[in-house]
């Protein structure tokens, strides 16, 4: 059932114990992700050096979907080259839009978030951390 898939153990676990949760020292890039309608309010902080994301943290309050999405994304981001990010965001968006697509192996646990596709009103929550990372990288701290 779609509801059980959305609130599956992996997502619940990331919601209860989010990884990379808290504030980052030596921030080079940051952005606040706000969804006034839902009440999601997150801060993404990144430390970029030599064209790579050395560290990624998020903080704030958000629903389980946004929190799990942010937690998984921060996990995935660390160590990535800046050139990889744009393509990953596009791939994540298409994974949410098209249930026929196979999972993307390089995105790892993030594939679990595809369950949100059955809840059109919640897709925006899964996307918020990703959009916030893109905005953070387009500016600076």
């Amino acid at each position: 059932m779609a509801l059980a898939r959305l609130y599956q153990q992996v997502i619940l676990d990331h919601n209860r114990s989010p990884r990379h949760f808290g504030r980052l020292a030596d921030v080079t890039h940051s952005a606040r992700g706000l969804d006034g309608l839902c009440g999601d309010d997150i801060l993404v902080e990144l430390q970029v050096a030599d064209g790579r994301i050395k560290a990624a943290m998020f903080s704030g309050t958000a629903c389980a979907v946004t929190t799990a999405s942010a937690s998984m994304l921060m996990d995935w981001l660390e160590g990535r080259g800046l050139g990889e990010i744009e393509a990953a965001v596009a791939r994540f968006e298409s994974l949410l839009a098209d249930p026929e697509l196979p999972d993307a192996p390089d995105l790892g646990a993030i594939n679990h978030l595809r369950a949100v596709a059955a809840f059109p009103a919640r897709v925006r929550n899964a996307l918020l951390p990703w959009q916030t990372v893109v905005r953070a990288l387009s500016g600076s701290a």
Binding site: L3, L6, Y7, L12, N15, G36, L37, C38, G39, D40, D41, T61, A62, C63, A64, V65, F119, A121, R122, N125
Partner: protein, 421 residues
Amino acid sequence: MSPATPMDVVRSGTRDPLDVLRLREQFPVLARQVHGKPLVYFDNAATVQRPLAVIEAMDGFYRRYNANVHRGVHQLSVEASEAFEQSREDLRRFLNASSEREIVFTRGTTEAINLVANSYLGPRLKPGDEILITHMEHHANIVPWQMLCERTGAVLKVAPINRRGELMLDAMAELISERTKLIGVVHVSNALGTVNPVAEVCALAGKHGVPVLVDGAQATPHEKVDVQALGCDFYCLSAHKMYGPTGIGALWAREALLEDMPPWQGGGEMIRWVSFEGTTYNDIPHRFEAGTPNISGAIGLGAAIRWLEQTGVERIKDHEQRLLDLATEKMSQVEGLTIIGQAADKGPVISFILEGVHPNDLGTIIDHHGVALRTGHHCAMPAMQFFDVPATARVSFAAYNLHSEIDVFLNGLEQARQMLA
């Protein structure tokens, strides 16, 4: 449909109680299922469902006498104009206004407030003048004034509320001065449920000669509104909160005020004579109704008012207050649940948070129990900020809700807690 309990037909006071089961038959949508469960519609503060009387009135207009109003000499136009103006008269009677000339049809409460901001207050404001509102206003009674302040250099002042979500009248009184040019106050808060002492606010304002605008969107389906007894100057409402259609509402304003206001939108209907040398404007209220109006909407609104009068606003209120009391009592026993907004005088609205469960997730899980409720900031972000919550979940009741539906909702709440907390 959920079974009725004896409490649904309990006699209250001297009035005959609502026969809720029979009343539900008038609402076709209540028969549907959501995710395989009977619909429990608890999102009435966002918009209520429509009875057949309203649906059929609008359908009848389109089937039998669809025509433009106030324009043709042919029979259909005459019938459409009569039905349209009958709705204005229905609304005049419903609000106890002294003349139907005081009723301006708008798209809803929001447009009514914007009309007053642009046509009444805008031309009168000078830099340093003040507009006074309350901390619990809907964005519709905040943002038009902010925009006006930006344009004119006036200042927006905010009367405080206490931790129960009640307006602090004494503090409000201290904020009224000769600089105050208008007071805007919500009659019933959509986010907190608070019923504000509007008559007292008007009496306070009257001492300083300050006009009062009342946002009545949330009040008209639950409270008997008498604009003359309230003593206000502008009253704004939306049909879709009071069993009528979306896209139509009204501004009631004192005749003398309307007479003194310039039009705010130009076009057909609002003119008497147009030439390139100049244009003469129509009388009130038509001066403020440029263009072909929402005719079917107005006819639906009239039908909704007659339905409310036949059903009885006071009887509906009794029923809703029992639902409110029962739900408040049961929800108070739920561990980790906090009700946001505990005013002594409340409309049938309960905003709440559940520890460990974000309102968004609660909304999704409970939807799978067939329960429709609202989550988010309820277009009252400053009120949310006052209570230091990013969002709440909200249940709100209407004439057709059953006591047994509260238990369906509480079961959903329990599942959400087990899944997430």
